[in-house]
């Protein structure tokens, strides 16, 4: 695709995941999910689904929703290599007296292992991790850029959506 965004794969943090799933247009979300590979760490997935459980008490709906997300995202486990990478980052942050958030560190560990940018709302919070080779991108920019791309491609769109 000829979108301005040079990446096709991302790791969505919890806020980015919330943003994507709250999009007014479900068709837009499905298009985004089919055009980009959006990884999600198990830890962000847990935060996201704790909200889903909080809102939706019907287990069947939550379970179907989980079926959908597990099919459309790449769920990244917090496995031994990720834990080791996270521990190196934590050690470095402590040495430099930096305050951090554990969920962020695990997301950074996954993103740096996969060499993919982090999708977020608050890209500034990931600036302290840039030395570990991790970049971040505003999910709102990805969505608006993709909308522009869709509009341009609209005239050539062969399959009405």
């Amino acid at each position: 695709m000829s979108s301005k965004i040079p990446y096709k794969e991302f790791l969505a943090d919890t806020a980015a995941l919330l943003y994507l799933y709250s999009l007014q247009s479900r068709d837009l979300l499905v298009l985004i999910l089919s055009k980009f590979k959006i990884h999600v760490s198990a830890i962000s997935l847990a935060e996201f689904f704790s909200f889903i459980y909080y809102k939706q008490h019907e287990y069947d709906i939550v379970s179907r929703f989980y079926g959908f997300t597990s099919k459309t995202h790449i769920i990244e486990p917090i496995d031994a290599p990720t834990a080791l990478r996270a521990s190196m980052i934590i050690n470095d942050l402590i040495k430099h007296g930096q305050v951090f958030d554990l969920v962020d560190v695990f997301n950074v560990a996954v993103a740096s292992a996969k060499n993919i940018p982090i999708l977020s709302i608050d890209t500034e919070r990931y600036q302290q991790y840039s030395k570990y080779g991790v970049t971040s991108l505003d999910v709102r920019d990805l969505v608006s850029d993709f909308e522009v791309y869709l509009e341009k491609a609209g005239s050539e769109n062969h399959f009405p959506s």
Binding site: S34, I52, H158
Partner: protein, 76 residues
């Protein structure tokens, strides 16, 4: 490369799609059809899930999760 056998009628329809979409090969046509099918089935599946997610409410919830989730290590 693998070969696929299609009926005369299907071949005609595939050629029509190839022309209309300005694609180079039948491989591209089949890839585009698979992508379209994939998209339609995702949309269909998602439309069956009756869930509404409020972004602002979700953010507030996660803020609470992080606050409640940092009880601290061992008591002194």
């Amino acid at each position: 490369m693998k070969t696929v056998a299609v009926s005369e009628e299907t071949w005609k329809r595939l050629k029509e799609i190839k022309e209309r979409m300005g694609l180079q090969s039948m491989n591209d046509v089949i890839s585009a059809l698979i992508e379209a099918w994939h998209l339609t089935s995702l949309k269909e599946e998602f439309s069956k899930i009756d869930i509404f997610i409020s972004y602002e409410e979700g953010l507030e919830f996660v803020k609470t999760v992080r606050k409640f989730g940092s009880k601290g290590f061992l008591k002194q």
